[in-house]
Structures are given as structure tokens and as C-alpha cells.
């Protein structure tokens, strides 16, 4: 009698619950990670070229004789654009591309969570995103002699994780809207770049705005995340900060809860709506 391979038995065992969730995450992240290994041209385009764009803003500050801490603000802000680009292009916009390729219907049919699919997309793109962000921080700091003074490292990690969790929750919410979109998806993603860089203060302290504008912009987690991180890593950061770091961290934690639960509810609703209106397989070209 043939002995059954225990690994084969395990792989055919039906995954449910959290196990299914994580298997889905890994399954969706895998092709993206492997695909990036097959052609490495992205390393140049994704790291070197954005660094040049960040440098341009640094030289604007130099041209108008800005205080040196503003150079650091640009470098950190430039690094954080990588995460915004990741959720907009690699999560939200990707759903539109998946629809065009015919994969979206398969995702919906399969007995897995859409949040797991989106998380897989995000994690799969994380390699490039982290590499880009770290490269900008390292190169920017070395080239422009940015001085950091990290007072509370744990708080800094906490702020970063809270901002990322809330940001990816927001990314899932925007991705759910893309279930209904067609050709306009590309244009909306384009539209979500400069205006967001502006209101979130990617290249200047958000405190430069009126209080209520800054407060309204705080709905985007990177606004508070960036402001808090700048306060924690630059000596004069606190003086240019919008709110106290603890207040910003608390607000980020609230946003995490709102966006994650909101994403779950909205994804379910949008999926049903898209099914009812026949948008999942439509291809308006």
C-alpha cells in the first residue's frame, strides 16, 4: 500500500478562518515578489529617479535659504511618498487592472477574503516600497547631511506602525471604490498624488496651514504620521509640529480602528453592489 506524503495531505487540507486568510495573503504576494526578481529594472526606476525628485525640492529650499531642518523634512516626506504610491498604484489601481485582466471575478468567486487579497498585494509590493523609502532616507541623509536626534525610539516605531496600519486600512477602503470604477481609475489615482502631497505636508510642516485645514487633512493617516515622526526625529521638529505626539498617536490609533472596520464593511458592500450592477467583469474601454 502506498504511503501518503504528509506534506501532500497538508496541502490538500481545506484551509479555513485565519489559516485561509494568511494562505491567501501569501498566495497573492508571491507572484508580485517573484515577478520583481525576474526583471530588476524597477530598482533603478523606483529608487534612483524618485531620489532625484526629492533632491529637487531640497534645492528649492536651499535656493530660498531655508533653515536646514526643512531639508530633513523633505527627505522624510519624500520617503513616505513610497507608501502612498504603494497603496494607490499597487492596491487600489491594481484592482482595476485585475478586472481588465479577468482575475477580479476569480478573486470574488474563490472562498477567500478580499481583505486578504489586498493585504497580499500590499505585502508583495512592500519589498519595493521599503527599499525605495529606505534608499531615499539613506541617500538623502548622506547627500544633504541631515541630522537626526531620536528621543523616543519606541514611540517612533509605534507612530510608524500605527500610521502604516491606518494607511493600509484607508488603502483598502479606496480599493473597494475601485471595484466600481473603470477607465476613470487611472485618472483618479493620478489625481490622488499632488493634492495629497500638498494637504498632507509631504514637503513642509503641516502646521503651515490653518488649524482646521490641517485637522481636515489629518483624515489621511500620513498627515499625522509624518508630523509625529518629524517631531520625534528632528531636534526642532516639536517646535514645528501640529499637535502633541501623544495626541497624534492616539488619533492614528482611532483611525486604524475606523479604517480597518470601515474597509471590511465597505469591501463587502461594494462587492455586493458591483455584483448587482454587473461591474466586476465590465470593461469599458
Amino acid at each position: 500500500m502506498n504511503k501518503l506524503n504528509p506534506l501532500a495531505v497538508m496541502s490538500t487540507e481545506k484551509a479555513v478562518g485565519w489559516k485561509l486568510f494568511w494562505k491567501t495573503v501569501i498566495a497573492r504576494a508571491y507572484p508580485r515578489v517573484v515577478g520583481q526578481q525576474r526583471e530588476k529594472s524597477w530598482i533603478f526606476f523606483d529608487i534612483f529617479l524618485p531620489m532625484l525628485a526629492v533632491s529637487a525640492y531640497v534645492f528649492v529650499y536651499r535656493a530660498i535659504h531655508a533653515p536646514e531642518e526643512y531639508i530633513g523634512f523633505v527627505v522624510v516626506g519624500g520617503a513616505m511618498t513610497a507608501f502612498w504610491m504603494n497603496i494607490m498604484w499597487s492596491m487600489s489601481m491594481q484592482l482595476y487592472w485585475e478586472k481588465e485582466q479577468g482575475n477580479l471575478a476569480l478573486y470574488i468567486m474563490a472562498p477567500n477574503s478580499m481583505m486578504a487579497i489586498l493585504l497580499g498585494m500590499a505585502l508583495g509590493g512592500m519589498l519595493a516600497t521599503f527599499l525605495r523609502a529606505i534608499a531615499i532616507i539613506l541617500l538623502g541623509s548622506l547627500l544633504f547631511h541631515v541630522q537626526y536626534a531620536i528621543g523616543n525610539f519606541l514611540q517612533l516605531i509605534g507612530v510608524f506602525l500605527a500610521a502604516m496600519t491606518a494607511l493600509y486600512g484607508l488603502g483598502m477602503i479606496t480599493a473597494s471604490l475601485f471595484l466600481l470604477l473603470s477607465r476613470e481609475a487611472d485618472h483618479l489615482v493620478q489625481l490622488a498624488q499632488e493634492p495629497v502631497y500638498l494637504v498632507s505636508g509631504f514637503y513642509f510642516p503641516i502646521r503651515s496651514f490653518n488649524f482646521w485645514i490641517a485637522a481636515a487633512a489629518s483624515i489621511i493617516p500620513l498627515t499625522l504620521g509624518l508630523d509625529a515622526m518629524r517631531q520625534l526625529v528632528f531636534p526642532s521638529g516639536a517646535a514645528l509640529g501640529f499637535l502633541n505626539v501623544n495626541v497624534e498617536l492616539s488619533a492614528l490609533l482611532v483611525l486604524c480602528v475606523i479604517f480597518l472596520f470601515g474597509a471590511r464593511a465597505l469591501l463587502g458592500y461594494m462587492e455586493r453592489l458591483a455584483i448587482r450592477e454587473g461591474r466586476l467583469t465590465e470593461s469599458r474601454r
Partner: protein, 290 residues
């Protein structure tokens, strides 16, 4: 023999015009005209506003310095760079991976470079709207100097024409390279435009760059083009910086024209090389949707 040459010219023009029409349809009919107008206004203004806020935070809102119109006009006209280069190069990704029609374009009796250039015209038109809106906003609300009576119109029109052609040639080079790379980096046009943003002194005088990087800026034709655009519109203010002050307008035009010819020749060779490689490696109908 003459008939063949005439037929080729006709094929190039037909490819160009049909692609222009197609590009405009793709760029403009994705939504209602009202939303299209909102989109056309918000994006360029937000881009300009980032610089305006950066500037006003440091200078306490003093807009009466030569650097402000310098960076404002540089940023406004630089929108053409992203629009045209992306417009031309994006057509490759759009046709190959989205509509999956690039292989049909290749077997149709058209000129592929002319077709790509035609696709870029739509972005040139939408880019023109963005440039106009940005300048109008600056003049009306931020006291950016502009006197239509003193504008050097002949210089403006000649420089604009040469500049647009030069950007189209750069776009053609990018489109050719795009033939060889996967879609995971589909913003090659915008990324390259971002890089040239630094090197061309679009928003700061080249003297601010480190000395070792400045020579690269002098090799970029966009540097001369932006200087000419500024000089034609605001004359002396643009000459307040020493970088290109020792060049006369005609000298700058000559340099721009020379570099444009160089890029046009380079684009022909780059296209031939990339086209050959793409055919050899079966990349014309590749889909890389990961």
C-alpha cells in the same frame, strides 16, 4: 521611386493623425466634461501650490523676489515635460498590457513611431490646459509678473515649438525603452520627468546644484528651453541669475535647436535598437500583470 516616398509620407501622417484622434478620445472621454475640467484644474494647481507653500513658509509670503516668478514659471512650463514624455511612452504600456493591441499595431500598415507621437499629442493638449491654468492662477492670485504687451511673442512661439518637438523626441526614446521593460514600472515617463526636474533647474537656478552636477544640467536641453520661455515672458527677471545670463536669446535658441536635432537622431537609433530587441525577445505582446 517617388511614389514609394510619397506613400511613406502619407503613411506617417495618417498614423500620426489617427493616433492623435485616438489619444484624445482615450484621454478625454473617460468622464463627464465637468469632471474632466475639475481634474484638469486640481492636479496642476496642487503641484504648483506645494512650491508656493514651501516658498511662502520660508519667505513669510514675500512674493516680490526674482526667485518666485523663476520657480513658478519653471514649474508651470515643466508640466509639458511630464505630459509629453509620459504621453508618448505610456502608449506602449497601454496598448501592450491594457488594451492588448500593440501586436495589431505592429502588423497594421502604420508607422509605429508616428503612431506613438500621435498618442502623445493628447497629453500635450491637456498639458497646455494645465500650463494655462497654472499661469493664470499665479498672475491673478499670487502677483506673478506678466505683461502681455511686453511679452516677446516670436521668441515665445519659436521656443515653444522647438521645445515641444524636443520633448516628443525624448518621449520616443522612452517609449522605445519601455518596449523592453515590464509593466511593473509603468510610470517611466513621469519618473524620468521627475529626474530632469532636478537637472534642468526648473524650479531653482542651476548654481544651487553642487558643482559636479552642474555640467549635467547644461547637457539637458530642457534647461535652455525653460530659460527661453521665462525670458520671452518676463525678460529681465529671468536674467537675474548668472547661470545662463551670458548667453543671448539667439545663442540659447541655437543650443536648444542643436540639442533637439541630436535627440531626434538618437531617438531614431534607440527606436531601431529597442524595436529589434523586442521582436527578437517576443516582448511585443507581453503581459506582466503582477
Amino acid at each position: 521611386m517617388e511614389n514609394t516616398a510619397s506613400s511613406n509620407r502619407f503613411e506617417i501622417w495618417r498614423s500620426f493623425w489617427v493616433a492623435t484622434w485616438l489619444g484624445w478620445q482615450i484621454e478625454s472621454n473617460w468622464t463627464q466634461p465637468f469632471l474632466f475640467a475639475i481634474y484638469s484644474i486640481i492636479k496642476p494647481l496642487a503641484g504648483a501650490a506645494i512650491l508656493v507653500v514651501m516658498y511662502s513658509v520660508i519667505t513669510q509670503g514675500n512674493f516680490n523676489t526674482p526667485i518666485f516668478p523663476y520657480l513658478y514659471y519653471g514649474n508651470a512650463f515643466y508640466q509639458y515635460v511630464g505630459a509629453i514624455m509620459t504621453g508618448v511612452s505610456w502608449a506602449v504600456i497601454d496598448d501592450r498590457e491594457h488594451y492588448k493591441t500593440l501586436k495589431y499595431m505592429y502588423i497594421a500598415p502604420i508607422s509605429i513611431p508616428a503612431y506613438w507621437l500621435g498618442r502623445g499629442v493628447a497629453r500635450f493638449l491637456t498639458g497646455s490646459i494645465s500650463v494655462l491654468i497654472t499661469i493664470a492662477f499665479g498672475v491673478l492670485f499670487l502677483h506673478v509678473p506678466l505683461n502681455l504687451a511686453t511679452v516677446n511673442w516670436p521668441l515665445f512661439l519659436v521656443a515653444l515649438g522647438i521645445g515641444v518637438f524636443m520633448l516628443a523626441m525624448m518621449g520616443l526614446i522612452l517609449a522605445s525603452i519601455t518596449l523592453l521593460i515590464a509593466h511593473h514600472f509603468f510610470l517611466i515617463g513621469e519618473a524620468t520627468a521627475s529626474a530632469l526636474f532636478l537637472l534642468s533647474g526648473a524650479i531653482f537656478p542651476l548654481d544651487v546644484l553642487p558643482a559636479w552636477l552642474r555640467p549635467v544640467g547644461f547637457l539637458v536641453p530642457i534647461t535652455y528651453w525653460l530659460e527661453l520661455m521665462r525670458r520671452s515672458l518676463i525678460g529681465n527677471v529671468a536674467q537675474a541669475y548668472p547661470t545662463l545670463a551670458h548667453f543671448g536669446d539667439l545663442q540659447l535658441l541655437g543650443i536648444l535647436a542643436g540639442l533637439t536635432v541630436l535627440f531626434a537622431i538618437a531617438s531614431t537609433f534607440v527606436f531601431r535598437f529597442c524595436d529589434y530587441r523586442a521582436r527578437e525577445q517576443s516582448l511585443i505582446d507581453r503581459v506582466t500583470n503582477y
